[in-house]
Symmetry: C2
Subunit: 307 residues, 2 copies
């Protein structure tokens, strides 16, 4: 990251960072581009503010920059760990996105979520740190690293945007609860936050590896995992031979008491939905993973036998 403390604007979580940026940067009717499939809350926010939201396809390198519509004012991306598919944006794609923003004058909102939990490979630098011209607003939160109930986040923004951000924050909710900010600042200053991240990275990595190894060894007939080296979830696409929709599989699994996945199609924005499953392991004890997955696999087979 390329930021001084003066560049960091504290917010009540990621969602508010995005709301403030939207209030400051956008006007009703503006075109906003999001990854498709993508994280739903930003799309809900932009639509509630009367923006025109366009889903842009993603491939194995990230958002397809050439498919971003002309006239786009802002693009929202998750480069470290695409939500929900899980790959990270390649370096060439990052440069292409920055060039596009430089050329068009658009703003990039970089949601670097899950970058703290990386299990292999060298992390790519955030877009924000290779951006020469402050086209990138970097948003982050402590909801994944600590607790969502803290409602603490931030946006790294250029000095020119601070007066407008301050005014937007003032009319929205004045400021973020001071006792929460003080408690987190102390937790960080004492080194406890860094220790917590190291400890949780090991715990999540164990879950990640077990989950992926079972998907690879036991689900070859129905699922193809998407390579992912970070975060708290893994996605896998349905093989073409599977005749059920991902929503049907999710529904059947839930009836069988398995709840560690969501259908990828539920994250479609404006593109045709893809079929697949997202496995979240942020809150599941590792010993529950094998049994849940075996029951899920049975569901898929039974389902196929039903047809």
């Amino acid at each position: 990251m390329r930021a001084t403390p003066e560049d960091v604007f504290v917010t009540s979580g990621f969602q508010q960072a995005l709301d403030l940026v939207a209030r400051v940067v956008l006007a009703p009717g503006d075109i906003v581009a999001v990854e498709d499939p993508g994280y739903p809350p930003p799309t809900m926010l932009f639509r509630s503010l009367r923006m025109r939201v366009v889903g842009v396809p993603v491939d194995e390198e990230g958002i397809v920059v050439a498919a971003i519509p002309a006239g786009t004012t802002l693009v929202y991306v998750t480069p470290s760990h695409q939500f929900p598919l899980g790959m990270s944006m390649s370096l060439p794609r990052r440069r292409q996105l920055l060039d596009w923003a430089d050329r068009t004058g658009a703003v990039i909102v970089e949601d670097d979520y899950d970058s703290e939990f990386r299990y292999a490979g060298r992390p790519l630098e955030p877009l924000q740190s290779i951006d020469e011209s402050w086209r990138v607003l970097y948003v982050g939160s402590f909801s994944k690293t600590m607790l969502p109930t803290l409602r603490l986040g931030f946006v790294v923004a250029p000095p020119s945007l601070f007066p407008a951000l301050r005014k937007a924050k003032l009319v929205t909710d004045w400021y973020t609860a001071k006792p929460m900010q003080d408690a987190l600042a102390q937790f960080i200053a004492e080194g406890q936050f860094a220790r917590h991240i190291r400890r949780m990275r090991r715990i999540y990595e164990d879950r990640h590896q077990l989950l992926v190894s079972i998907l690879e060894s036991r689900f070859g007939d129905v699922l193809e995992p998407i390579p992912s080296m970070a975060g708290m979830h893994v996605a896998a696409t349905l093989r073409p031979e599977v005749e059920l929709t991902d929503r049907e599989i999710a529904r059947r699994a839930r009836r069988a008491g398995v709840d560690l996945h969501m259908p990828i199609s539920s994250f479609a924005v404006t593109e045709p939905p893809r079929r697949g499953l997202v496995f979240g392991y942020g809150a599941i004890p590792i010993e529950h993973i094998p049994d849940g997955l075996l029951r899920l696999h049975d569901c898929c087979l039974n389902a196929r036998d039903d047809t």
Copy 2:
């Protein structure tokens, strides 16, 4: 108050309650009426959301209902203790405002701030409790009774508005920090909040009475206090004989190290400004009040000698 726990929607302070209500009830270009002079942050919010804000004059009974423009969608009022003038809205005026809202279909936002600190007379019932048809949204906060840094507030709203409020809160910042809500809930449940209010009411009442008695006994030549029985501030209008503006007096006083007042003209919205001073005593130890006021009076006299 006429409200069950299910009618109370928790927010991050008063300002956010108003922002959520605005998102749910208003569309860009709507006419919003506010008291004039009035509390500035709501006007800032409504303007930032592209509403047309109209200041409506207030007299000794409160907002002049007959002066609310046709086509108004929402009116924001402070019936317990008008900000900044300090009088409370009379019962006939309250009924007139409710009748107007019933007739026009407009929404009334009732900011009942300072109603906890009442020093004389029987409190009038909130608009919300005499409203038969859910035209009133009652907003409150713990910023004055406890601490602004908590950022805890609420809106009492009809069940029909809850789904939209929930969605607005979700896209805005998901929810309000849970540890803060839990701490306050415990503080209330243990009876400490009620004890705190009783203790602070005595402290504020002593300051209120001392301040008013000095204004009445020593400022008769320059100021006319506006009767006020509640809250943490008292307002007084400049007598016609005073030739200075209230801003000039405030500036001179500040130079003399006196900072317990603000000019009333700074709270004008769209009406011609009134001249006067607002004396806030929420944060001033009682023993500092007499000396500050004597120095302020000198400022006024010197000022008049200057002309």
